[in-house]
């Protein structure tokens, strides 16, 4: 097995002699086939001739390719390319692994800080590092694969599809952050409730029933939510999530439109254009009706 410093000598392997043998075998086999079988229908002859010619051309191409590959220079060039492939795959896997490690590191850091995040009823400077890291990892490490420029006739369709995937991922990450912020009051309210219960137990005044504890918790929770909702961090996260959702929906609609164009149905864009024209026409008709003293009441039967 070749080590990292000394790559596997691909051109010295048995691949190229095998390639040559295989090409010769298929060419000889093709030559043994009769040019026109008597059993075939006359109507099929033209097609069959074309097929045989095509097969012969392909095999000749294959043969030339195998001969060329037998040349040491060509084989070496191909081998280099083949050797580079694992490197590309390794690079891709590497960035994935690095991303996973980064997330894990952030999670570990967060775990170490549990309970120290923020004070009760205070939502300034929220510790949303994990989510920011997640976004960062996605944007720096993974997003690039969706941004590889597509080529060819279908490039615009691929681009829009990739855009949809990209926007979806960004929305998911932002939504996770938003939901985590939304959960914070729960976390804090339980801590405050615990402290209050402890204090009351020390005073010998424990709640009489579950309802009393629940009412106490609910009041604490409501207070936390009110404070959270007024904070800039929450408002920013809310608008960020809404923006990312809108980005995703726009990208999804555009990708969907490509798909719908293949079907005999109208797209949203077509309908919007029609609705706008319809709206303007209706306005003009109503204005004319008003001038002519025609009632806009379309009711014919009293329900």
């Amino acid at each position: 097995m070749a080590d990292a410093g000394n790559p596997f000598p691909f051109h010295e392997s048995s691949v190229f002699p095998w390639l040559k043998t295989a090409a010769d075998m298929w060419l000889n086999l093709a030559k043994t086939l009769p040019p026109n079988s008597d059993t075939t229908l006359k109507t099929q002859t033209a097609v069959q001739n074309r097929f045989t010619q095509q097969l012969e051309t392909s095999l000749n191409l294959f043969k030339s390719f195998s001969r060329m590959m037998n040349e040491p220079e060509s084989a070496s060039a191909t081998a280099n390319t083949m050797n580079a492939l694992p490197e590309i795959f390794l690079k891709m896997a590497g960035s994935g692994f690095e991303a996973a490690m980064q997330i894990q590191n952030h999670l570990m850091e967060k775990a170490a800080r549990i309970g120290k995040r923020t004070e009760a009823y205070n939502f300034d400077n929220l510790d949303q590092e994990v989510f920011r890291a997640l976004s960062e990892v996605y944007e720096k490490e993974l997003r690039q694969y969706l941004k590889i420029p597509p080529l060819g006739l279908t490039r615009f369709y691929q681009e829009r599809f990739n855009e949809m995937l990209d926007k979806h991922n960004l929305f998911e990450t932002t939504l996770a952050e938003f939901l985590s912020i939304l959960y914070l009051p729960m976390e804090k309210s339980f801590n405050v409730l615990q402290e209050k219960l402890k204090q009351r137990t020390e005073e010998g005044n424990i709640p009489h029933d579950v309802k009393e504890s629940y009412a106490m918790w609910l009041k604490i929770l409501e207070g936390h939510y009110m404070n959270l909702f007024k904070s800039k961090e929450y408002t920013d996260a809310l608008h960020r999530t809404l923006n990312k959702l809108e980005d995703f929906l726009i990208a999804k609609n555009e990708a969907m439109r490509d798909f719908l164009q293949l079907l005999p149905v109208v797209t949203q864009k077509d309908m919007d254009e029609m609705y706008k024209e319809f709206h303007l026409l209706k306005k003009r008709v109503k204005a004319l009706e008003k001038k002519a003293g025609i009632s806009p009441n379309t009711l014919t039967v009293v329900k």
Partner: protein, 423 residues
């Protein structure tokens, strides 16, 4: 360090008792939930008298034997968010029924459910289009030059715009939980709306989905609206009447039509962001909405604990309009509590009826051009508002009259009441 001892035996004993009670309740609840339940909304009979596109007008049958019937009919305009059925939520809590019993000839706009084809409808289309056509229809039907107009929430803002643009058609104006000053940070909606990118929203959604807005409203008080409400339901689900009323409320809350995209864009941009209405700088159909032209008597209700439209968003209107007969009434409740809370059934609708009757003495067939000199009456002057520079003229003001419920105290509040006040 001393360790606090918790009497575990006592706690476990109580938990066992609770578990037994819960088991019994669940058993009774299955009978209720599997049995026949009546939770229809808007059960008061009406007829549809007008229809234009998706918009309909309901006409209710008043009590012709009432002590005194009103000459001028009343048109109620609800918001584009949620439905007007809230005014007729359940038989014993119905603003509609109270109006009819008081002898008011009642019409109510049903905005219907906007579809994609309605996304280009603007505020102008609603106010100078639908509303104006409906007002003309009622005026013609009754042979009167003016009618009474009552607006609720966003429908109240539309009514303020309409009354300013067409003062010759409105006899009295009643606004309830109506935002007119949007430059306040007291309500979370006002804070959140400031940074909303309306262009992107309209581009993405077309019409703004009712479910999205409902989710936003739930987020205003998740502890009450997403947790406590359902805990309360679990505690009372063996009570048939409670379950029926709860489901009615639930049906109303989540019956939320989409809002036409262009209307949403204009309302957020012109009102929430630029605060044009209270400054008389808003334009509809090329005409300026000048609040000074709103000269008819005005009665303005709002809720002290309203999270959606806080008092600061409502209490500048009476100071900004041209009318000299303008009153503020602040009720000690939330956004919906004004209409559905049993505590305010006597302080709200009967009061409106009384106020209208006091102003219905004159001949309803007064010619549109005749100018009536309004009484200078400010029964409940303004609470000192958190005033920003709005450009609106401020009349002499002091605190608005806060009306507290005459019924039982806070501990005896029903769950429905709590929900109503939490919204």
């Amino acid at each position: 360090m001393t360790e606090t001892k918790i009497p575990l035996d006592l706690i476990l004993e109580r938990m066992a008792e609770d578990a037994e009670k819960a088991r019994q309740r669940a058993s009774r609840a299955s009978d209720v939930l599997l049995g026949e339940l009546h939770y229809e909304l808007g059960s008061t009979p009406y007829e549809i008298v007008y229809e234009e596109d998706r918009v309909k007008v309901k006409h209710y049958f008043r009590n012709e034997n009432a002590d005194r019937t009103l000459k001028a009919p009343l048109l109620v305009v609800y918001a584009l968010i949620n439905r007007e059925t809230m005014l007729d939520l359940q038989p014993d809590r119905s603003v509609v029924k109270t109006f009819l019993q008081e002898g008011i000839d009642l019409y109510m706009v049903d905005w219907g459910y906007p579809t994609s084809k309605d996304r280009f409808l603007t505020i102008d289309d609603h106010v100078n289009g639908y509303m104006d056509n409906i007002v003309d229809f009622i005026r013609r039907k009754h042979g009167v030059p003016k009618i009474n107009l009552m607006g609720i929430c966003m429908g109240g803002s539309f009514s303020v715009m309409y009354a300013s643009l067409h003062p010759e058609k409105i006899k009295n104006l009643i606004t309830t939980v109506t935002p007119s000053n949007f430059d306040t940070d007291k309500g979370l909606l006002h804070v959140w709306m400031k940074d909303v990118d309306t262009d992107r929203m309209v581009r993405t959604f077309g019409n703004i989905p009712g479910d999205l807005m409902n989710f936003g409203f739930l987020l205003l008080n998740p502890a009450r609206l997403m947790i406590d409400k359902y805990v309360g339901f679990m505690e009372n689900m063996d009570n048939k009447e409670f379950v029926e009323n709860f489901v009615r409320m639930e049906r109303w809350i989540f019956d939320s039509p989409d809002v036409p995209g262009e209307t949403f864009r204009q309302f957020v941009d012109d009102c929430y962001k630029k605060n044009l209405l209270i400054q008389s700088k808003m334009f509809l159909g090329g005409k300026r909405v000048d609040l000074k032209k709103l000269t008819m008597p005005l009665l303005n209700f709002f809720g002290e604990y309203d999270h959606l439209v806080p008092p600061e968003a409502c209490n500048q209107l009476t100071g900004a309009v041209g009318s000299k007969d303008a009153q503020d009434v602040c009720l000690e409740t939330g956004h919906i509590g004004i209409y559905v809370s049993s505590k305010f059934q006597r302080q709200f609708a009967p009061r409106i009826a009384q106020w209208l009757k006091e102003r219905d003495q004159e001949d309803a067939a007064e010619p549109p051009s005749a100018k009536r000199k309004p009484d200078v009456k400010r029964e409940a002057p303004l609470k000192k508002p958190s005033v920003r520079k709005t450009g609106a003229r401020q009349k002499a003001s002091s605190a608005a009259k806060i009306i507290r419920p005459k019924t039982a105290g806070k501990d005896k509040q029903s769950l429905i009441q709590k929900i109503a006040e939490a919204i």
